[in-house]
């Protein structure tokens, strides 16, 4: 992978130099919907995507473009399209590649909305998905059919924290000429760059660690530029003639950037899930400190793992950096700096004890997000999955005593004290029961 500058330098500089007219050192927020054309010639060239530039913020915007260029350089992709959320990114990828009658192979251990989109929404439009165990290579290979157009998984699954063996899955996809798309939200380019392991497409929820402060929803698609879309029968809307831009073939005209060109010309143009320039600015501010934050997230996670492991109130503990995690070996290989800052654990006393714990912590916030600078918690048994019985939760890989912890950047001693209060309350419930 070609890089002239190192990660930390690119996090601060890629995609932007001081503004020529004003000297503005920070990335300006171009809070505008549209751009005055210099002449009709330029207008036509922009509409037709003959040259770079901006015509309407639904399609592109200078502040958002800086974010896109920064993300592409950090992940080693050839090009990037930023959009309104991680889910928008997922939807854009699926609809850019697949049409009715096509098939997807996806991990069965993914974020709920990723699963729902494929299992319940895309099926209504004739796109079927076979869900597989992300680490059963044989199962993945067997599930790929002649009409399979995409293999999809998360590097670190949410919330189960299974680690996909990306290099091996990429080899299978390469052999079968199917693109491998990876949700890289939980690892961020700081911990791992899936394109260097052979993945072809990345999606990020920028809402999480990349933005890092819980203030803006955003998503991005990064194109590895390492997939051959040339098979016209298999990928007719990328390598065949396409209605957008006068019937050109995206593959013949844009080559390595064909997928992102298509997403911009069709997905952003016709669906319109654009990011706001303000949110792009917030997310850029986050990226400036991504490596600093990730280092501290990982450091705090290590200390929290030790604390939880030694705590009486904890019945089980799961994190890929722990030796007893089933994917520990893979994690060590592809995530040498650490496997992210989500920890899941069980609380003695089941669902009610979990509820008591959550209700008695103060510093740690009980909410539905991950990757904030602040420590976050959720107890699926009393929130997202409260309507399910213990058995039904088990079926979806969850248990009613499970807590998902997103380790923040606080002084970890304060978080430990906070947790002790929660554990005390949980223990009361637990002892009442026994």
């Amino acid at each position: 992978m070609s890089e002239k500058y190192k990660f930390d330098t690119m996090s601060l500089h890629s995609g932007h130099v001081p503004d020529k007219e004003t000297g503005s050192r920070a990335v300006p927020i171009y809070q505008t919907t549209s751009y005055v054309f210099k002449d009709t010639d330029e207008a036509a060239a922009l509409y037709n995507m003959e040259v770079g530039g901006h015509l309407y913020t639904r399609i592109s915007n200078p502040t958002i473009a800086t974010l896109e260029q920064r993300l592409a350089s950090l992940d080693g992709g050839v090009s990037c399209v930023a959009c309104s959320s991680g889910m928008a990114a997922m939807h854009l990828v699926v609809t850019a590649i697949c049409s009715s009658g096509d098939h997807i192979v996806a991990s069965n251990k993914m974020y709920g909305a990723n699963i729902n989109l494929l299992q319940h929404t895309m099926t209504r439009f004739g796109i079927e998905t076979t869900f597989v165990n992300p680490n059963n290579l044989e199962e993945i290979e067997k599930a790929i059919k002649p009409n399979t157009k995409l293999v999809f998984g998360e590097v670190i699954g949410n919330p189960g924290l299974d680690v996909m063996n990306v290099p091996e899955v990429a080899k299978i996809c390469n052999k079968k000429n199917v693109p491998l798309a990876i949700d890289a939200t939980f690892n961020t380019p700081y911990l791992m760059k899936p394109i260097t392991y052979g993945a072809n497409i990345l999606i990020h929820s920028l809402t999480k660690w990349i933005g890092g402060h819980g203030i803006a929803i955003g998503g991005a698609i990064i194109n590895g530029g390492n997939f051959d879309w040339g098979n016209k029968e298999k990928f007719p809307t990328i390598s065949g003639s396409h209605f957008a831009l006068n019937g050109i073939s995206f593959w013949e005209e844009f080559g390595p950037s064909a997928l992102t060109a298509k997403i911009r010309a069709e997905g952003m143009y016709n669906f319109g899930p654009s990011l706001s320039p303000n949110n792009a600015f917030y997310i850029l501010q986050g990226i400036e400190t991504l490596s600093l934050r990730m280092k501290k997230h990982i450091e705090n996670t290590k200390m929290m793992l030790k604390f939880l492991k030694e705590n009486e109130a904890v019945s089980w503990l799961r994190h890929p950096d722990l030796e007893d995690h089933p994917d520990h070996k893979i994690a060590k290989k592809i995530l040498p700096l650490g496997s992210g800052s989500i920890i899941v654990f069980g609380i003695k006393g089941g669902r009610d004890a979990g509820k008591a714990f959550i209700e008695n912590v103060k510093l740690s916030s009980h909410l539905a997000n991950v990757g904030d600078a602040k420590t976050l918690l959720i107890h699926p048994g009393s929130t997202t999955h409260s309507h399910l019985s213990s058995e039904a939760m088990k079926m979806s890989g969850l248990t009613d005593d499970m807590i998902r912890l997103s380790v923040g950047l606080e002084d970890i001693e304060d978080i430990k004290i906070d947790f002790e209060k929660g554990f005390k309350a949980a223990a009361k419930i637990s002892s009442k029961r026994s």
Binding site: M1, S2, E3, K4, Y5, M10, H13, S14, G15, H16, V17, D41, A44, A45, N48, M49, E50, V51, G52, G53, H54, S60, N61, I64, A65, E68, Q69, R70, A72, S73, G76, G77, V78, S79, C80, V81, A82, G225, N226, G230, L245, N246, G247, I248, S249, E252, E253, F254, G255, P256, S257, T260, R264
Partner: protein, 263 residues
């Protein structure tokens, strides 16, 4: 567009349109280890400006099959034959890097084909150091990395351009990886061997344009200016960028070519 040419499947980009007899033709000639994607932001622009565009992938490059040409003279003959095959009698040639050597040679040997000449980040000779040639033989991907990082100035390396979301370094690399792995070393050797540039330049009798890069580490500006001096009528412009000028400064390049075509 794909055609069977000299027993091989050959690709040349026309910007998605069919070639039309009565339009003026622009022929874009790519550099060492490149293919038609070097000119992504030129090809469709000039098509919509009303020109026929032919931007071939030389054999083994991009989508073209066949044995690679091994000298600039062969490159020139292959190109001349392709144009004859496409029934194009005359064209304006825009060469980048090695492509400049090819069109210099063409200007001397087949002047009847040449309506105009634009040299982009070019020179009359392109000697290549042994280290790069050896690396291109033993570890082509490492050589792509070196060329791509040398080929951008610091702005380019930070992906500073108007092309939303594009990362020049990775894209340059991906373009080179589309070629057969033997392509780069063969091209670099062709560049290294070519000695007729000065003689060819001295025979040119038409008005030409050179667009040179101030921070060019592959074909240094000084050598580009020597070429300008050796051509009877050659206007030149220097842009603040690296060797991969068509990607770093596409709008400026397009405006200069357009101006040249209209003059």
């Amino acid at each position: 567009m794909y055609k069977d040419f000299k027993g091989n499947k050959v690709y040349f980009s026309t910007g998605g349109l069919n070639l039309v007899n009565d339009k003026e033709t622009l022929c874009f000639v790519h550099g060492a280890g490149q293919n038609h994607y070097s000119f992504t932001q030129q090809i469709r622009y000039f098509v919509s400006q009303g020109y026929n565009v032919v931007a071939p992938d030389f054999p083994g490059h991009g989508f073209s099959e066949g044995n690679q040409t091994t000298s600039i003279e062969e490159d020139m003959l292959w190109l001349a034959e392709l144009l004859a095959f496409l029934k194009i009698e005359k064209a304006t040639f825009i060469g980048h890097s090695q492509g400049c050597l090819t069109i210099l040679e063409l200007a001397e040997k087949k002047p009847e084909l040449v309506m105009g000449l634009v040299f982009v980040a070019g020179a009359m000779s392109i000697p290549v150091n042994d280290f790069l040639i050896d690396t291109s033989i033993n570890n082509p991907e490492k050589a792509y990395d070196l060329m791509v990082t040398w080929g951008q100035d610091s702005y380019g390396s930070f992906s500073i351009s108007d092309w939303p979301g594009h990362n020049h370094l990775a894209e340059g690399n991906a373009i080179m990886k589309m070629n057969d792995p033997s392509v780069l070393s063969t091209d670099l050797k062709s560049c290294n061997l070519y000695e007729n540039g000065k003689q060819a330049a001295s025979t040119i009798n038409i008005n030409c344009l050179a667009v040179l890069a101030k921070f060019d580490m592959m074909t240094p500006l000084k050598k580009g200016l020597q070429m300008v001096e050796n051509i009877k009528q050659c206007d030149y412009k220097i842009l603040e960028c690296g060797h991969f000028l068509p990607i770093e400064k596409p709008k400026e390049l397009n405006a200069l070519i357009k101006n040249y075509l209209n003059s």
